[in-house]
């Protein structure tokens, strides 16, 4: 009987684990629960400090000790007080948009091909992507700078975007591939049977189905790009993105504007992730 039970495929519902657990009164369980929350609190602590000091009524640029509560740094005239900081934020946003769109398109092509077709070289291609995902950022940045130095091209916004597209492609591809692999191909066959050309089938049937995966790939690329420091540090030259500006400002003090911008990026990111998650869940329910 046990053998039969084991041969059955894994239960699709994750609650199966929960159903058998309560019988066992494992004393460590409550302890582990508390421990998990402790680690989450530890993970959240520096974020809370960052958010809190965006409300600090500090008189100058030094924002290290608590003075009093204020909303004033959120006013546009205060928030954009440092033109070079504002420029850095804009450059970060522009590069993130460009990098996420380009890597979204290129990565989707790779992910679709790897998920759908068996072809010569797919294995080595997987290895190339694996190397790109697991390579240290320091080495990617240093080697890209080596390339640009050797070629004698300058570095600036274009090279930052090139670098960000490079490290995002594999992530988009992996996300899209995992969706394409579980695609129900009978839907496409049905479209073909009804006389749709492969081109029409792709755009009218396949693409809408994989679109949520493409979107989360693009969002992931956007998040990777806007927060990136190490690779950007090597490929930026004298140009400053938001993280690079902060790095340069550490010696002269990080003004509260940085906390506010960090808080806003955090809020938008969290909100976007929640919306994307809710939408993909309701999408799964309707399928």
């Amino acid at each position: 009987m046990t053998a039969q039970t084991l041969q059955r495929p894994p239960a699709p519902d994750a609650d199966a684990a929960a159903r058998i657990r309560p019988r066992r009164r494992f004393t460590g369980r409550g302890l582990l629960h508390a421990y998990t929350w402790l680690i989450i609190a530890w993970l959240a602590l520096p974020i809370l400090v960052m958010i809190a000091f965006g409300f600090n009524d500090t008189p100058g640029r030094y924002n290290t000790s608590w003075v009093g509560f204020t909303f004033k740094w959120y006013a546009p005239d205060q928030l954009f007080l440092y033109p070079d900081l504002t420029d850095a934020l804009i450059l970060s946003l522009v590069i993130a948009i460009v990098a996420s769109l380009v890597s979204g398109a290129l990565g989707t092509g790779i992910g679709y091909a790897l998920g759908r077709y068996r072809f010569r070289g797919a294995g080595s291609f997987n290895l190339l992507m694996f190397a790109a995902i697991s390579s240290p950022e320091l080495i990617m940045g240093a080697s890209l700078l080596s390339l640009f130095v050797s070629l004698g091209t300058g570095v600036g916004p274009v090279t930052i975007a090139i670098a960000h597209i490079m490290f995002s492609i594999s992530f988009v591809a992996v996300v899209v591939r995992s969706r394409v692999m579980v695609l129900d191909r009978s839907i496409e066959e049905a479209a073909a049977d009804l006389g749709a050309s492969p081109w029409t089938t792709f755009w009218k049937v396949t693409f809408p189905i994989i679109l949520p995966a493409v979107m989360s790939g693009v969002l992931l690329a956007f998040a990777l790009s806007i927060d990136d420091f190490i690779v950007t540090f090597f490929t930026a030259g004298t140009y400053e993105t938001f993280p690079i500006w902060i790095w340069g400002a550490t010696r002269v003090g990080i003004p509260p504007q940085v906390n506010v911008m960090g808080t806003l990026i955090f809020a938008v990111g969290v909100l976007g992730a929640i919306i994307a998650n809710v939408r993909s869940r309701s999408g799964q329910r309707t399928r």
């Binding site: 421990y35 680690i39 974020i47 080697s143 890209l144 670098a163 490079m166 993280p243 969290v270």
Partner: protein, 287 residues
């Protein structure tokens, strides 16, 4: 679709992204190798002379920092396994319907720039900060006690910044365990400790290995944590490489060091890929 079209379709899809990865990921490594064998100075320019002494010279000058980085990375990785495993275990087995929420909370730090998070820790751990000043006022530690500037602060920062990369793969591995396998162990009179040691832990090992890969590589090549939280006593190889590249423009030394670091880390990465395959890491990247 004609047979020919079907044959070339995957290559056409892979081509643009593949070329991008080849030109901006693989070729730069060659550029870096070439740069590491050049001689000259920034004013007169560098020429390729096959000057392999760059390797011996830079290694003897910076072996302390290289070894220190590998030790910090190893210590951080061991701590990460110890900290992440219980948390991943609890989320996977007892998270119930809120699993997604707990994972999301684990990923919260990724919505704040790496640099900002680390600077936030600098503020928290400062001599006059909220942690150290109360315990100093209580007389628990002397006035000469610091956290910043010590290896504890640097390794702590590494552990903090890379924790999600350890929790996620272990969680993915644990979640795949069929609860009935655990149940079977218990039916066969294994106590919880033996069940864990003989059943759960071995099945979670691929996740632990993926986590080690995803944390050791960025931790040992990091330069942000030791720059922000450390001192001259904690200088890591990443800082040396960044300074040689960007401040001193000593490209041959910098690329020789990068190349050594890359080879050390890549040997680990490819041994991993050979033995365990690339799927576990790719799966985590896809989440």
């Amino acid at each position: 679709m004609s047979r020919l079209k079907r044959k070339i379709a995957p290559y056409l899809l892979v081509l643009p992204g593949g070329l991008w990865l080849l030109i901006f990921f693989a070729v730069p490594m060659i550029a870096m190798l070439s740069l590491s064998l050049q001689e000259g100075d920034i004013v007169a320019g560098y020429r390729f002379t096959g000057h392999w002494q760059n390797y011996t010279d830079s290694l003897s000058a910076y072996q302390t920092q290289l070894i220190r980085s590998l030790i910090y990375g190893a210590v951080a990785t061991i701590l990460l396994i110890a900290i992440a495993f219980p948390m991943a275990y609890w989320i996977a087995f007892y998270g119930g319907r809120r699993k997604g929420t707990y994972l999301f909370l684990t990923l919260l730090p990724f919505f704040v720039s790496f640099v900002l998070r680390t600077l936030s820790w600098q503020q928290i751990l400062a001599d006059e900060g909220p942690v150290l000043s109360p315990i100093r006022d209580l007389g628990l530690v002397g006035p000469a006690f610091h956290i910043l500037g010590t290896p504890v602060a640097v390794i702590g920062g590494l552990v903090y910044n890379f924790l999600p990369f350890m929790v996620l793969p272990i969680y993915v591995a644990l979640e795949r365990i069929d609860p009935r396998v655990v149940e079977a162990a218990r039916d066969l009179y294994a106590n919880p400790i033996i069940t864990f040691r003989k059943v759960v832990f071995p099945l979670a090992l691929p996740g632990v290995f993926a986590g080690v890969l995803m944390t050791f590589v960025p931790a040992s090549s990091d330069f942000v944590n030791s720059e922000v939280l450390g001192s001259s006593e904690t200088t890591m190889i990443g800082q040396v490489i960044a300074a040689q590249f960007l401040d001193n423009s000593d490209y041959p030394t910098a690329s020789a060091l990068s190349f050594v670091l890359m080879v050390v880390l890549l040997i680990g990465v490819f041994t991993y890929a050979r033995i365990l395959g690339t799927e576990d890491v790719m799966k985590v990247a896809a989440r």
